[in-house]
Subunit: 65 residues, 2 copies
């Protein structure tokens, strides 16, 4: 699942650690999601989107490879 989380997170100059804490998961989980190797749950996707001030579509919809 490719996505825009890493790109957007870096624009906010948040670290994986900080984002992880805010959305209530571990740093490793964020890392794997950014890498595209994870299939996160909807709740987590929503939490990440809100924390980054984006919508689900912004982060996860039809992201080109």
């Amino acid at each position: 699942m490719k996505n825009n989380v890493k790109k957007i997170r870096m624009k906010t100059s948040m670290t994986q650690q900080q984002l992880a804490k805010k959305v209530g998961v571990t740093r490793q989980t964020i890392g794997l999601i950014e890498k595209g190797e994870y299939n996160p749950t909807l709740q987590l996707c929503v939490a990440i989107a809100k924390e980054l001030d984006k919508t689900l579509d912004d982060l996860f919809w039809e992201v080109e490879e």
Copy 2:
């Protein structure tokens, strides 16, 4: 997780069974998602959205109670 899946699915006059088959899960999974008692995975959300010709935001973003 409230969402618009049931409303949109009914507009297409698809049954839970048919949608389930198209996205590769069971009828029960679709039922629970529509009921809002499940926290589906992103892949499944995307599959449902594509099958219903909607985006993630249409189905799962800020759905009022």
